[in-house]
């Protein structure tokens, strides 16, 4: 289907370009805003893959929670009087070699495995099935994650006060 491919390539291009600019721009506040566009692109990819509940969770938790927290951290620790210079101690040639090696291994592994794919059916709403799975098979992990979030909350609050 050509429309599906066009929309997928559009979201993939948004994600990859924004992620590239997150790590290469000099201003850290611009970097946080490019991260926002990356998260939007990732949400679009999730919707195209049929994961509607996870896409909305990504919007609410990642953009509405983690990104706002990151922006708080950036604004509170930014010196307004002078421009932040990015780190200049990058050795380009060994980094490029390592990245090219890793990417080559990944692409070779991708193209040479025989993927078993199933026939894609019509996308259903996944919320009901995910809720059933969470409370029947993965109930222990669910409760443990609740306890972990409580511990993280208490730890972060007690670390960040005077």
């Amino acid at each position: 289907m050509p429309i599906y491919s066009i929309i997928f390539y559009l979201f993939a291009a948004i994600t990859i370009l924004s992620a590239f600019f997150v790590v290469t721009t000099r201003n850290i506040i611009h970097s946080a805003y490019y991260l926002l566009f990356t998260f939007f692109g990732v949400t679009g990819i999730y919707v195209l893959l049929g994961a509607d509940f996870i896409a909305i969770v990504q919007l609410v938790v990642y953009i509405g929670g983690i990104l706002i927290l990151l922006l708080f951290g950036v604004m509170l620790t930014n010196k307004i009087t002078h421009v932040q210079i990015k780190t200049g101690t990058i050795k380009i040639v060994p980094a490029a070699l390592a990245v090219a090696l890793f990417a080559g291994i990944l692409v070779t592994a991708l193209l040479n495995t025989k993927w078993k794919t199933i026939n894609s059916e019509l996308p259903l709403s996944t919320t009901h099935s995910l809720g059933l799975l969470l409370l029947q098979q993965y109930a222990v992990a669910f409760e443990l994650l609740g306890i972990l979030l409580l511990i993280a909350l208490i730890g972060a609050a007690s670390m960040a006060r005077k």
Partner: protein
């Protein structure tokens, strides 16, 4: 800056999980795993930001290259 890189890595692994949940033979387990990864990333971002605020209070910079008092 380092935190944003960590979020990028976690998001890319998440896309992989959900792609396998759609095209593989695993049911909805990939999406459950992606949900758990999102929750863990949120907890870890909160604690990492508390650490960053403490670093800023002690060193008055967040550039990790300038924090080298343990180096000889």
């Amino acid at each position: 800056m380092v935190l944003m890189g960590i979020e990028l890595v976690l998001n890319s692994a998440n896309i992989n999980f959900i792609a396998f949940a759609k095209f593989g033979n695993f049911g909805y387990q990939g999406q459950i795993m992606a949900l758990f990864v999102i929750i863990l990333a949120a907890a870890e971002a909160a604690i990492a930001l508390a650490i960053v605020l403490n670093i800023y209070k002690n060193f008055s910079t967040v550039n990790v290259d300038e924090i080298d008092t343990l180096k000889d």
